[in-house]
Amino acid sequence: MVDPRGTGEAAGAGDDGAGRSADAFFFCLRLLGGRYAFEAPLVTEVVRLGPLTRLPAAPSFLPGVFTHRGEVLPVLDVGQLVGQSAVPIRASTRAAIVQCGPWKVAVVSEAVEGLVVVPRRALEPPPAESTGVAEFLSAIGRDRNGTVAILDLPRLVETARTRAVPAGSGAA
């Protein structure tokens, strides 16, 4: 569910009376043939991915790390995470630098749509199926351009982490 106490506020039309704006702002990416978005405040930047340093012993959804402004960031391939095809990393590949919880990641996508506004009342609960990407959806939104799947990115990332490292081996 969308947390009304979300990390960011956006200027919008009116108030829902609970101190939240009426509209929700999301950052939308084109992924897996669909439109996915996550809470806009999470996104710090959208960058061109550049040369990727691959990491040995890394899970498939972590194609590598890249350096941005002197900072080394891990790259997250959501498509790989939910078990579908990898995003081909090209020079033009866009990544959204997202802070989700303790982790700062660069989420790669096929294309970046940018900021979308979905009225809160237009948010619906996600479908009941808990397989694939649906597992990580917090809501389904609709805007002018169609359906937008609202990803619960922190949960996604956390799940990723726990899945990557089987219990009892390797890293901290």
Partner: protein, 131 residues
């Protein structure tokens, strides 16, 4: 000279160059100098092509020396400490190996810093797979 530096031994396995802290390196030699059982070749770094150079490390607690087989030893580099970075936490958390210690940016490109003893230890502890 007052700038803190870190000394790394640069070596190449397959197509990638890695860096290892000099303190972990006992000696650089050739694989001919080591006995077969002390050679470590197949690691997460990949399989070397040339199998000529051996980077001798002390991996086990017992101090027994092991030789990591590499393709090339490029040399010793001294880098400013500021160029040494840790792995991003998520990455560190997601890797199944503890042997990648971080990065060192050298000539614009990041080189992975390899914890050689851990690398060797992990390899020795791994079940024997088709090498």
């Amino acid at each position: 000279m007052s700038q803190p530096t870190a000394e790394f031994l640069l070596f190449q396995v397959a197509f990638r160059v890695y860096a290892a802290a000099v303190r972990a390196v006992v000696r650089v030699g050739t694989i001919r100098e080591a006995s077969a059982e002390d050679l470590v070749a197949d690691t997460i770094l990949g399989r070397p092509f040339a199998r000529d150079r051996g980077v001798v490390v002390s991996a086990e607690r017992d101090g027994r020396e092991r030789t990591l087989v590499v393709d090339r030893v490029l040399g010793v580099r001294s880098v400013p400490a500021a160029d040494v970075h840790e792995l991003p936490p998520l990455a560190a958390a997601c890797l199944s190996s503890a042997a990648i210690a971080g990065f060192v940016t050298m000539d614009e490109a990041p080189l992975l810093i390899v914890d050689l003893p851990t690398l060797v230890r992990e390899r020795l502890a791994a079940p024997a797979t088709a090498a």
